[in-house]
Structure formats: structure tokens, C-alpha cells
Symmetry: C2
Subunit: 453 residues, 2 copies
């Protein structure tokens, strides 16, 4: 373990993190609403215990936002610290080596749903500020916390809150801890994110399920129709077949592409250790960074309908549904993308069935200009704490809040995250590397100090 | 209700049928094994109570066969009566208007899983023989019962039993009550059945589920791969795209096609009332009877993998599985068909995934020569009881036992069934039309009397 300059009670921090991880605050499943509230109240209690002021749950229309502030540094900038207390569902459960909501430390890692995305990182922000305040009696900058509980389901509440606050949010920049290091030990700032639209495509055939012996040959099969539609959305070379989908895609600058080419990266190790596939696939003509950071992609997440139990049932189902998402890159727009998607789905529908596409949620892509004060200072703090030069990358994931901070509050976001590429986000055996938990706290503390100078 | 010539205690018969229907003897679900045994014992008890002899459960390797005999008519033919006591799963449960295993009489129909397929019809055979024996003290022909419990899962046990018995089965023909009237009131003999192969196609991508944001663009998606494969099995016009699949298909004789053309049939009523679809689909160039009785078809029954719960989860699943069956017509062979299927599936697999097709169970198609004594007498009995001329049809479903009786015992099958086209076989709200239950008993009794003359 690392020798850290600050005075930390490591066991108390781990106990607190584990208590946070034990709450199954799954925002995508309605039955976990009570856990969502427990998680929000846990965050509020930690902020109060840490010396933050005006700690409260902001209710109204969705999962509570937790806000807090410390504004005792007049003349200094105000940084808004953002994280989320909600998590993804843990299934498939049988692939976890320890239960997803019983945090388990093995070696230097803590395993639990939300360990990295995003409870571990949210807890870094809270405890970095709390420990600095405890150690020095004051903070070098003004701080606001805004911790949400709907990041995994589209974040409608925080969007309406930010829209209502507008330029009155009272912050000069946002610090977001929800990303990762490009490689272990390599300090990393994320300056670009893909957006997303998450859709459901429902296909309806007969008014009721039918016997495939008696009606095979006359009845439309919604599962077969879905297969035709899905196969028509993307070709086997992974090119999206939706007309117009690539029209607005903006290529990264030559300088950014060159910087990516210099990143330390072993494609074969990435294939074997991280993705764990016999072969990497993807759109021809683009390298891995472009394919995952700067090109739109389309994925099918699940297909419901018919019989999927053990054994055999000879049914032609009355309906079938697919969950399909697209990742968007600058300058794609979520609403326009859904319109193009929906029109193409309608065109692909075979005869005999009715097809309907629904847009469940979405958010635009965003790129941040790395040449601003808050990002430059962040890089300096990271350089110092990690004793290595910070790299600038993008992420293929979606953190819509970055676009919202820009759009409504007019402030830039600093994406300083401490996850690792093999943290199994949204998958079984999600983990957080504990040395990064403590290094992350140190980096955030140092960042606040340097911002206040 | 009908006035029947025989002396029946209708309420006792209905009580018995309902007791039979209450047993959830679902052979496709391993957890229902105890119910399978209860159903077998129920059948045995009814046969004993009906005066049959040598009633026993034949164990060995699968669900018990129930056998019984009455051989007190020397010099007369021996008829083997076949039915099955196992049923399909009832899901989707929420579409039933009354619980599937609480038989409910509404109007002239009894609703329950198995009401028509095949407990109601099996019960007709048992009670027709029992009532005739009770009324007259003897039977006009010799009778054997062979009631199985694996019809919905491939019938391996009865196959091995028939194979072992061979020509020593001791029967001249089989009477199978597992089909339907072509139209209400129209006496019908089924003289052709489609075969089936029931397969699972498994596609494996990465070693674990992946986040679609981080890995969309490099990781193969097994659901998308399955969609490509399924879309490549059948075109939107419902033509099967497996090379060689149509090579062995034998067209029905001109006489049979002409007879089908004379069947009373209203396509628009069939579409609206029975299939309940906006449009009938199917292979171009063939009418509805050919498409459902004399052409092979391919159906997808379910796709498992990924996330199908409420809301959103942005996962690229590690694996996905589809259940796919083909219906076979003369002279297609199940093993060869699976080989063609499996080879084509392999050819369709996109890069980056592993694909494996498994043959879960199967059975060949069969056609019976209508010009044999047992079928001619059956038609006479039906003509008389229904006061209408019997029609000869085929069925699109699969009753592999017909082929096995022919292959191993060398005996023809008489498929005299009393279901109706809208009985919702294998679907929610399966029913049996009670007047047909009593007419069916009368027809079987009359058939035995005429066979004994």
C-alpha cells in the first residue's frame, strides 16, 4: 500500500465505502426505490459529518438530488463536485464471485456493484473535501456538491434542476469523478464523451400466441421480424445502416488523433485481458480509439418475447421487444438520431407485423476544450500526485451531465476519474482498485489546494 | 346440449376431466416431474375403474407410459388407443382469463392447459371404452391403451418402448385422439402430419458481459450476431434460405390438392377469428393448406441473453441463445434437416463470435394411406355420429408417434380428433368444446362397434 502524506483513517474510510456499497440503489428497477432513498440519505449524512453546510435532499419529480455547500473562501472560485449514488442492475447474478451488494476485498480491489461506477468515486469527492476541512479547518476554494440518483436512467431530475437554476447555479466549473485512468498509474483527464439514445422496438403479430405447427406458414413471427429489423440496422462489418447516421459525425482534430496514437496501448493485451474476445470487431477503417470514442455505435441489449425457459415450447409469440441503443459522437443530436433510427426501423418492418420504436432516454455527446484554467490546473495536480504526465483521452460511455453543465450553467467540466479499464462497469464483478481510491482522494485534495492558490 | 343415445353421467365425466386438468403435468419443465407422475397415476386409476386389465405404469428412462388392455374378443382386431397426459407450459400466464390449471367452464367450453391437447381427448378414449364396457359387459374388439407423458418433449420413452416391442406390440392399428375437426360439426380424419426438429443456437462473444459505451465498437454482440443468423435463415417472404432444404419436399397428389380446395373455408374469417393478424403471411405461390400442411416452415420461439427487464441496461451480453424449430414434410428427414440447418448457421456466423447449434428433439413427417380398412370404417362411424360426410385433411403440427407406429409396429394410425381450430393449443386460454367431448365419446364407441362387426 502507498504511504500517503495526509492523515487518514483508512479503515474508517473503507467501512464507510462498504456501507455505501451495501445499499442496492438500482435506479433502473422500480422495486429498488426505497434503496435509492437510503443511498441519498447516506450521502447526505456523510456530507453533514464531513462539515459541509446546507446539506439537503432536493425532491421533485424523480430520485432525490443531494446538495451541500461550503462557501467560506470569498474571492476564490467555486467548484461543483458531481457524482451519482445510483447503480446498474447486477444481473447476471450467477457470474459474480461474491454477492454484488456484499462488498468484498480481494487483494487490492474491492468488489461490488457501484464500486467504481460511481459510489467509490463519489465517496472520494466527499472524503477528500471532508478530510481537507478537518485537517486545515477551511477549504482553499468554495465547494458545492450535487450528487444525483438517476445517472443510469437518464438523469431527468438533475436536468430539470439545472435548467431551472440556469446561470444562477453559482459555480465556475464542475469536477466529475465518474471516469477512469487510461492505464494503471497513468493520470488521465477525459475531455470527450459519447452521447446515447436508448430505445425499445416492439413488434406485434397475432392477437395471441400461436402453435408453430398449426400456424407456421401463415402467421407472422415477431421474433423473426425483429431479427430482420436488427440485422438491417448494422451490417456484419459493424457499419450502421441507418441512412444519414454518419452525416453529422465530426472527425477528431489531427492533433487529438496524434495524441491518441502516442497512448501506451497493447492491442493484443486489451483483446485478451480486458475485452476477452477471440477477435476484436468494429467498423473498418478506424482504429480502436476512434471506434470506441469518436464513431457512433449501435448495440442490442436484450430481446424479450416467446419462450426462453428450459426445454422446448413451440410457440409463435404474439409480440417481441428489443432494447437497442446508439452511442452518439459530436455533432450528432439525440432527437434527430432517434428520428433517423425510428424511420429506418419502420422501413425494415416485414409485412404482417406492426412495429413501434420508443425513445426511453438519451443525452448528447460532448467534448471539452482542454485549454481552460480548470483543466490545466487539474493536469498539474494529477502530474504531481501520480508523478507522471497526465494524458487527455475521450470515453466511449455517456455522461450527459457534462453537456447539461455546459448548456444550462455555462460551466466547463473537469472529468478526473480514478477507475481502471478492467473495472467491469455494468458487468458482473465490478471492482475498484483501492490504491486508486486513496490516490484519488489525494489528487482531489491537491487540486483544490492548487485551484485556491 | 345434445341428446345422446348412450347412458352417460355427464357430471361425473366433467368432474373426472376437471380433476385430470388440474394436474400441471408440464413435461418441458423439470420442476413438474412430480405432477407428471400424478397425471400418469390418474390415468392408470381411471383405466382400472373403467374395467381395463393389466393396468400398469411402464417405467424406464423417462416419464412413465401407462398401458392397459382388454383382450376378450378373440378373432376380432386389436386397436391400440393412444393419447398423452403431458402438456405444454402455460406462459404467458398474464394472458389467461382463468388460471391454466383451474379448469373453468364458460358457455359450452372448458378452459385449461391440456383441455384439448391432449387430456380432454385422452379422456374421451378412456371413457368411451369404459362406458361401452359398463353398458354392454364386453367390448366388440380387443383394446390396448398406451398413454404417454413425453409428447411435448419428443417422446423418447415411447420410441424406445415401441422399438423394443417391434412387431410384437399386438395391435392391428392405432387410434390417436390428438387432432381436430376441420370446422365445427364437420367430421374429420387427419391423414398427414408435419415432422419437427427443435434446436437451440448459442452464440458466444466476450468472456463476460461488457459496457456498451466503453466497448461498443470493438466487442462482438451475440444478440446482433443471432439477429444476423436468424435473418439469414428465412427471407421476409418466408422462404427458408437453407440450401437444400426444399430438395426432398414431395408435393401432395393432384387428388389431395383438389379435395383441399373443396374444404369449406373462409380465408378472411380464418385470418380475423382464428389467427387474429392484420395480414396472413407465408411462402409465395402456395395456398394456406399447402403452406401449413405440405411445406416446411421455420420459426423462432425465443431469444435469451442480455437484459430484458424494465428500463435500461447498457450491456453487450457475453452470450445469447435462440430456440428455433423447423416443421418437416414428406420426404424430409430430421437428421439430414438438422445437418443442413447447422451447416447454414455456421456459414452465417459473423466474425468475432462462436456459434453452436444443438438438436433438442425431432421426429419425421408422416402421411397415412386413407384407403385402408381402419380408416374407411372410422369415416363411416364419423359420418353416422356427426350426420355429415367425413373430410380428410392433414395437420401442420407434429405427432411423431404416427411415424413410430408405422416404423416399428408396422401398423397404420387413425387420427380421429375432436378439437376445434380455435382451441388455442400451446397458447393462453386453451379450451375444449364440451359438445365435442360427448360427441367424441359417441364416435369412438360407434367406431369400436363397427370395427367389431
Amino acid at each position: 500500500m502507498l504511504a500517503l502524506p495526509m492523515n487518514l483513517d483508512r479503515q474508517a474510510l473503507l467501512d464507510g465505502l462498504q456501507a455505501f456499497l451495501r445499499i442496492p440503489s438500482i435506479s433502473t428497477l422500480p422495486e429498488h426505490q426505497p434503496d435509492i432513498r437510503r443511498a441519498a440519505e447516506f450521502v447526505a449524512a456523510e456530507l453533514r459529518a464531513g462539515g459541509l453546510e446546507q446539506v439537503r435532499l432536493i425532491e421533485g419529480g424523480g430520485n432525490p438530488l443531494v446538495s451541500a455547500e461550503w462557501l467560506g473562501a470569498p474571492g476564490k472560485p467555486t467548484l461543483l463536485l458531481y457524482g451519482h449514488y445510483d447503480v446498474q442492475p447486477p444481473d447476471p447474478l450467477d457470474e459474480w464471485h461474491s454477492p454484488p451488494f456484499e462488498p468484498t476485498i480481494r487483494g487490492d480491489d474491492i468488489f461490488a456493484r457501484g464500486a467504481s461506477d460511481d459510489k467509490g468515486q463519489t465517496y472520494i469527492l466527499i472524503q477528500a473535501v471532508a478530510s481537507l476541512l478537518r485537517d486545515t479547518g477551511a477549504l482553499p476554494v468554495n465547494i458545492r456538491f450535487l450528487i444525483e440518483g438517476e445517472e443510469e436512467v437518464g438523469g431527468e431530475h438533475i436536468e430539470s434542476y439545472l435548467k431551472a437554476q440556469g446561470r444562477n447555479l453559482g459555480a465556475d466549473a464542475a469536477l466529475i469523478a465518474d471516469t477512469e485512468l487510461f492505464a494503471p498509474g497513468l493520470p488521465t483527464l477525459c475531455v470527450g464523451l459519447r452521447g446515447i439514445i436508448y430505445t425499445e422496438v416492439e413488434v406485434t403479430g397475432a392477437g395471441h400466441d400461436l402453435h408453430s405447427g398449426v400456424y407456421g406458414g401463415v402467421a407472422p413471427n415477431p421474433l423473426q421480424a425483429l431479427a430482420h429489423i436488427l440485422a438491417g440496422l448494422k451490417d456484419p462489418q459493424e457499419r450502421i445502416l441507418i441512412p444519414g447516421i454518419y452525416d453529422r459525425v465530426r472527425r477528431p482534430s489531427p492533433a487529438e488523433l496524434e495524441a491518441w496514437a502516442r497512448l501506451p496501448f497493447d492491442e493484443e493485451q486489451y483483446r485478451i485481458k480486458e475485452v476477452d474476445v477471440p477477435e476484436l470487431v468494429g467498423e473498418p477503417g478506424y482504429n480502436i480509439f476512434e471506434r470506441t470514442w469518436a464513431r457512433p455505435t449501435l448495440e442490442v441489449h436484450g430481446i424479450r418475447g416467446g419462450f426462453t425457459g428450459e426445454g422446448a415450447k413451440t410457440v409463435i409469440p404474439a409480440r417481441a421487444t428489443a432494447k437497442v441503443s446508439l452511442r452518439l459522437v459530436p455533432d450528432m443530436e439525440p432527437e434527430e438520431t432517434f428520428r433517423l433510427f425510428s424511420e429506418h426501423v419502420s422501413r425494415l418492418a416485414p409485412r404482417g407485423v406492426r412495429v413501434r420504436a420508443t425513445n426511453l432516454h438519451g443525452g448528447g455527446p460532448s467534448v471539452v476544450d482542454p485549454d481552460n484554467h480548470f483543466i490545466r490546473v487539474a493536469a498539474q495536480a494529477l502530474d504531481e500526485v501520480f508523478a507522471s504526465q497526465t494524458v487527455y483521452i475521450r470515453s466511449g460511455g455517456s455522461i450527459p451531465i457534462v453537456g447539461l453543465f455546459d448548456q444550462y450553467a455555462g460551466i466547463p467540466s473537469v472529468m478526473m476519474g480514478f477507475g481502471l479499464p478492467d473495472d467491469n462497469l455494468h458487468a458482473p464483478n465490478e471492482k475498484f482498485h483501492l490504491p486508486n481510491f486513496f490516490l484519488g482522494m489525494e489528487a482531489v485534495r491537491r487540486y483544490l489546494e492548487m485551484l485556491g492558490q
